[in-house]
């Protein structure tokens, strides 16, 4: 097993992987504990989906620094992530791959399923051949969060419903 990242990556959360692919500025603020109050409807919708959509599974499983929405145990373990829509698909995918990578380091083979209850769709992923992508992401996160100041924000469509909107653009 390649132990190069074993200790560092264990400190990185799924949210951080997710934010890396959404916005490095957001990632930086978040990693410093500068978080925004969760008032927007958007966030509430997320919570709602989370609470209402999947009963009967093992929910919110915390393993080290990662927190998986729920896990199904079959022949092979399935880690499930619940998402609202496809607009941040790459971020969702990388988050799921990171969980698989993390579990693999712990000697657990698993596959990931991203659930889009609103769209009634799911997407399955395995880690096969994608370890390097995850390792690149980890390196990039480490680089960004060690910067003395946050990366300059870049205005994009994402900003409009980002909780950091006021902080970035005031």
């Amino acid at each position: 097993m390649n132990d190069k990242y074993l200790f560092n990556e264990l400190l990185i959360t799924g949210t951080e992987i997710n934010y890396l692919f959404i916005c490095p500025t957001k990632l930086w603020y978040f990693s410093k504990g500068i978080t925004m109050e969760q008032e927007s409807e958007w966030v509430d919708l997320g919570k709602f989906l989370h609470e209402k959509s999947y009963f009967g599974e093992e929910k919110e499983v915390q393993i080290g620094s990662i927190k998986i929405d729920f896990i199904k145990k079959g022949d092979i373990i399935e880690v499930h992530e619940i998402k609202k829509g496809r607009s941040m698909e790459k971020a969702h995918e990388m988050q799921a791959l990171y969980y698989l990578y993390y579990l693999k380091k712990l000697g657990i083979k698993a596959k990931a399923v991203i659930n889009y209850p609103k769209l009634r769709e799911t997407k399955e992923l395995t880690l096969d051949g994608r370890e390097e992508e995850v390792e690149d992401a980890i390196r990039e996160i480490e680089r960004i969060i060690s910067l003395p100041a946050p990366p300059k924000p870049l205005k994009s469509k994402k900003c409009k419903r980002c909780a950091y909107y006021e902080l970035c653009w005031v």
Partner: protein
Amino acid sequence: MRKKSITLLSDGALTRRENTLYFENAQGKKPLAVEGIYDIYIYGHVNISSQALHFLAQKGIAVHFFNHYGHYDGSFYPRESLHSGDLLIKQAEHYLNKEKRLNLAKLFVTGSAKNMELNLKRWKINASFGELLKELESARKITEVMNVEARIRQEYYSLWDKVLPDGFKIVKRTRRPPENEMNALISFLNSRLYATIVSELYNTQLAPTVSYLHEPSERRFSLALDLSEIFKPIIADRIANRLVKQGIIKEEHFREELNGVLLTKEGMKTVLKAYNEELGKSVKHPGLKKNVTKQRLIRLEAYKLIKHLVGIKEYEPLVAWF
């Protein structure tokens, strides 16, 4: 749903039964929906049960207390839930580094002076603090900055008298106890504004105890004092002026006591109504390109300070465009 501030002017008791908060006064017992409360301001004699306090702490609701004169006494500031070690270190660094601290202190005073000038212009008084601001630039010590600030404020208040109706001249701005009507009114508003700022800071990761213009030892939430320099002219002073000029606040809203003049209950009610309306008013924010309330401007000012501290954007104090 926007959470609301609650003001308790009457005497009574704040209690909790199960998951409901109740306020009981002479009129009866009323449940308060805790999920919709942003913060609480208490002017009356209110008994609070420890269960109620536990509940408020759990919900992260700050409670601010005011004395007989309507002056700020202190806050119940629930254990802070928002922490950022990194930001705290940056805050301290900007305090310990003399240049960095001076820079911020001057920015607060400059912003404050610009807003005062703007008010005077609205009230058709010709004045500029240009000379004093030049002096500010060359200040090398915090005490010098404070000194310039005090002189600007003194000149500012003395100019008000030109446009204030008789019976409401400031003459000499005194602190507590307030010795005339206008002083009482301004102090009352400033106290409330200070508490509002404390609440806004509570909802950010800024440590309210680390400040730049004021000494951190001056008051527990000294950073709120720094920020209040910017907002006193835009919020408190404008309300005070409007209320007396439009005759909404009259002589009868004050009473004299051994220690000076103070607002009556009716007077407080009228002022607080105007204050809440003012904070709820929206203005179009040129940078954010959306409407924000005046209360939100305080939070945004805190965000600007965070950005200054983390080194992404130099703090520019709010100068009213409205």
